[in-house]
Amino acid sequence: MKLFQNIQSRPRRMNISAFTLIEMMISVGIYLVIFIGVMIAIQIFALRIYTIAATKLTATADARKALNQIRDDIRQAKTLQVGNLLTPGDPTTFQAISGNNGAQGGALQIFQTTNSVVPYTTYYLDTSVPTNYLRAYMVDSNSAATTVTLVGYITNTIVFDAEDFQGNLVTNNLVNNQVYRMILQFSQWEYPIAFIGTNQGLNEYNYYQLRTRVCRRALD
């Protein structure tokens, strides 16, 4: 590259033939080493940046998908009951919180009508396995049941509760216009190849939580 017009008038260069083959090979070799080194370093840097972002995004993606499914079910529901499973892992043993007790527990039963009959869905925390899965137990109108695992590695036992519009805990009594709150607290390392910070990053992002509140649309 020539910066100035008079560079070409330099007398010394006029009678020079060119670089030798050796000079060119060495210079091209050095250039390639530097260029490839820099490009690889950039790519590694980019991969690391990508991994950090992927860790943050994928960590919550599955859980948000599960919350979306429960949110849709609650919105179109008619009857909801918060309760617990009498036998861990067995959704047929669901028992609703009764009386004047605050409606909070590890399971939520959703009916499409005011009658507590099929079809219905029970979302429950399965504590019978070490990884504490949140599962959906769906019973169709023919009483055929299907169980789907939504998300795992949940640490909190109270996942569902019913609140009033000010955030106070209320009962399962249908007189209330409950807003149902779901809290999922996770202890999980979603993306183990990401090493961030000290201790090889193994303690990074291993705890996080997701919350949502949903209200029935057909309010009484």
Partner: protein, 171 residues
């Protein structure tokens, strides 16, 4: 390029690239590389902003759902309002008088919370401003607006995520 294998010794008097040429070539190379790095960093920044925005939208949605769940029964007599009554959200008209029977009636309140994003360090605090406004009295219709205001930690800019809906009275 000319092959001069036999005349290597004669290059002592030849000129080469000038210092300025070398510096400028390095400058151009450096600008190219820094552009690439900036692109990667910017992409990561956008991903982070996106995850926080999603969490903020969830908070705004929660504020809206809470307001929707408030009891609003227009058929109950006598007309009452306040928590635990037939119309749980108290509204005020433009003159500041508490009445739910004015088309200008409205109210607003705020909630403090934090974003649900996986992160280290201190949580990202938000303020959720919820506004309930009468849209019409006949038929009765209200608008519920929830504005979640939060600060993007990487540049300190204020961001707002909004959820708006309208609701009819309880059936």
């Amino acid at each position: 390029m000319t092959l001069r294998l036999a005349q290597v010794n004669g290059r002592a008097s030849r000129a080469a690239f000038t210092l300025m040429e070398i510096l400028i070539s390095f400058l151009i190379f450096g600008m190219t590389v820094s552009g690439l790095i900036y692109g990667y960093v910017q992409a990561n920044r956008m991903a982070e902003l996106s995850s926080m925005s999603l969490a903020a939208q969830s908070i705004a949605q929660q504020g809206m759902e809470q307001a929707i769940s408030a009891q609003w029964d227009t058929q109950m007599y006598p007309i009452t309002n306040g928590p635990g009554t037939a119309d749980e959200i108290r509204l005020y008209n433009n003159a500041g008088v508490q009445t739910n029977q004015d088309v200008t009636s409205h109210t607003n309140y705020s909630q403090l919370d934090s974003l649900d994003v996986p992160s280290t360090g201190s949580p990202i605090y938000i303020t959720n401003y919820i506004t309930v406004t009468n849209v019409s009295l006949y038929p009765p219709l209200r608008q519920i607006r929830s504005d979640c205001v939060w600060t993007f930690p990487l540049d300190g800019k204020l961001c707002t995520n909004t959820a708006i809906t309208q609701r009819a009275p309880d059936q």
